[in-house]
């Protein structure tokens, strides 16, 4: 479903990715591990169309994204890719519900439909009582779950998570990991998760390791 073909990326003299090929199938949970600075985030950004590779290409469902304009990439990202980062990156001025809705609204979806779905999602993630809370009024675990709900609102083909539990204590981290697998089981949701958490990496269907700019 998602394919990175011979992707390379350099920052100045540093060749971060040296021809990486990776294939992710629908419903798979793939973990990416590697030392700090190995290029995990870089790869995730390229798969998530936030960055363009220097060489190689990313193909999602037969769409070759190399030739797309920035505008089309934005639209594609909006519809098909959800992100979860180490920091929740919720917008502080907006409630949990609004934060979840925004990607839906950006995609010009029907307001009520988006709101209903956002509520269902938050409910599903155990945040029923938190709809109208601002991010600052939420715990770290709750913030991260709102971020997950936001990533899911447009039914993306894939959720790309970059150290999603990196800022959580072990209980919250475990809860989040279980959530990912529950979502996979119940909704067949695809995940690509960059992590330093070995427990999570082992739970994944597949674990790929980046070292010296290559996958192992």
């Amino acid at each position: 479903m998602i394919q990175a073909v011979n992707v390379s990326k350099a920052y100045g003299d540093i060749q971060v990715l040296k021809g990486i090929s990776l294939r992710i199938d629908k419903g798979e949970v793939v973990s990416i591990v590697g030392a700090s600075g190995a290029g995990k985030s870089t790869l995730l950004h390229i798969i998530g169309l936030l960055d363009r590779p220097d060489g190689g290409e990313v193909i999602i469902d037969d769409n070759n994204l190399a030739n797309m304009s920035d505008k089309d990439l934005s639209s594609f990202r909006n519809k098909h890719i959800g992100f979860v980062f180490q920091f929740h990156h919720l917008l502080p001025e907006f409630t949990a519900l609004e934060n979840v809705c925004i990607p839906g609204w950006i995609g010009k979806r029907n307001d009520n439909e988006v709101k209903e779905q956002a509520k269902e999602l938050l409910d599903y993630l155990g945040l029923k009582e938190r709809f109208n809370h601002k991010p600052s009024q939420l715990s770290g675990g709750e913030q991260q779950r709102v971020a997950v709900a936001r990533a899911l609102i447009n039914h993306p083909k894939v959720v790309l998570a970059d150290e999603p539990s990196g800022n959580l204590d072990s209980d919250n981290a475990r809860e989040l990991h279980e959530l990912f697998f529950r979502l996979r089981k119940e909704f067949y949701q695809t995940f690509v998760i960059v992590t330093h958490n070995e427990e999570l990496a082992k739970l994944a269907d597949r674990e790929v390791i980046i070292r010296d700019g290559r996958l192992y």
Partner: protein, 406 residues
């Protein structure tokens, strides 16, 4: 739903980062200041232009018909009052009134002083409404009065220089071969404030001028026409010329007869334009700075929205809306202050002018709703259009970098 507007509203109403808040206040103040200055400048300039031209037109009418061989300061050529336009031109749309006049140059002599003057005769069709408002003492009178000595109105400036007051008698010498002398009684003293005119003219019954000129009662120097709307003055002048004028007669507008004073009034527009342009630049510079800072302080938000698939133009719209809110606030405040100050000036006359140089004692104010609307809409539109340029900064924000920082 307009999502960009929704986001703008939220962030504009929320607690802004400190520096943004400060910059937004500066920008609102700058817009308010610009609008205030523009409104005051515009109201003062047009007030000034209208006040002075009202005086000129009130005293002299808008269009004058006379024999083109007549020259001010010398003996006018006689014109018959039996013209097809007199008084029928009053039926022409846009014409308010027509009246006759006759001029005669003379010299006023008192014990110690002599002063050259033009005595202006008015007929019984004379509209005294403007002159009545200019009377400093005494009052206007009707043509056809037979009292002796003959009545005359002199200006405040003539009265001051010759040390005369209402009720005094004066002797005026008229240049003829041989010279003729007439005694007049000062029935009143007027002041239009238009010094150049005031010091030259005295007013009396046209019959005296006709008699001094050896003219019949059917002869005058010319006609003064008052029109309804000064905006049409040139068109009316042209129309009157085309439709009614022949032989030695010419119809000229006051603008043509006194180009200097009207050019000088026109010149005030340049001052106004300079102020408008400067103030617009002030507004734009402040807004551009404010917008750049708003964007820089929100790179994180921009990055997050980009990861969610927001396009550059969507995010730029957020900031342009935000700028719009700032401009709008500035405009509202600027209107309140600008109109408020202008009102205080019109009510209490705080700003005073030297009447000798400016023809008015108190700087007059004229509110033109169209002008004020144009200033407001102009500032809003110009600012927002110019702000499209700095808003491109949004597309320089890389989502990857924005997300990295926290």
């Amino acid at each position: 739903m307009n999502t960009a507007w929704f986001i703008t509203r939220k962030i504009a109403l929320s607690h802004q980062p400190n520096f943004s808040r400060f910059i937004i206040r500066v920008a609102v103040a700058a817009i308010a200041l610009s609008i205030t200055v523009m409104i005051i400048a515009g109201s003062l300039v047009s007030g000034f232009q209208i006040e002075i031209s009202t005086k000129i037109f009130g005293f002299w009418g808008h269009v004058r018909i006379y024999d083109y061989n007549s020259t001010i300061g010398f003996q006018d050529k006689a014109v018959s009052i039996h013209q097809k336009f007199y008084p029928d031109i009053e039926k022409m749309p846009g014409v308010k009134h027509i009246q006759v006049y006759a001029n005669k140059p003379g010299i006023i002599k008192t014990k110690n002083e002599i002063e050259s003057i033009v005595v202006r005769g008015f007929g019984n069709d004379f509209d005294t409404s403007f002159l009545s408002k200019c009377m400093q003492s005494g009052k206007t009178f009707q043509a056809g009065d037979t009292s002796y000595p003959r009545k005359i109105l002199i200006s405040n400036s003539t009265a001051t220089r010759l040390n005369l007051k209402t009720g005094d008698d004066i002797i005026i010498y008229f240049v003829e071969q041989p010279p003729r002398v007439r005694k007049f009684k000062i029935a009143g003293i007027y002041k239009t404030g238009l010094e150049e005119f005031d010091k030259l003219y005295a007013l009396t019954d046209i019959a005296d001028i006709q008699q001094l000129n050896n003219w019949s009662a059917d002869s005058v120097s010319g006609f003064e026409i008052f029109i309804d709307d000064v905006k049409n003055i040139s068109a009316m002048g042209k129309k009157i010329n085309e439709n009614y004028i022949g032989q030695n007669l010419v119809a000229q507008t006051m603008k043509e007869i006194n180009p200097n004073i009207f050019d000088w009034l026109e010149l005030q527009n340049i001052n106004e334009y300079v102020i408008l342009i400067l103030m617009t630049i002030v507004a734009i510079i402040n807004m551009a700075t404010a917008l750049l800072i708003l964007i820089l302080e929100r790179t994180n938000m921009i990055g997050i929205l980009k990861t969610q698939g927001a396009t550059n133009s969507f995010i730029r719209r957020i900031f342009i809306y935000h700028a719009g809110i700032i401009v709008f606030q500035g405009i509202v405040i600027g209107n309140i202050i600008g109109l408020g100050l202008s009102y205080l000036q019109s009510r209490y006359g705080i700003i005073r002018l030297a009447e000798e140089s400016y023809y008015v004692k108190v700087a007059p104010v004229h509110f033109d709703p169209l002008f004020i609307a144009a200033v407001n809409i102009g500032v809003l539109v110009v600012c927002l259009i110019v702000l499209l340029i700095p808003s491109y900064l949004v597309s320089k924000v890389s989502p990857v970098k924005a997300i990295h920082f926290r």
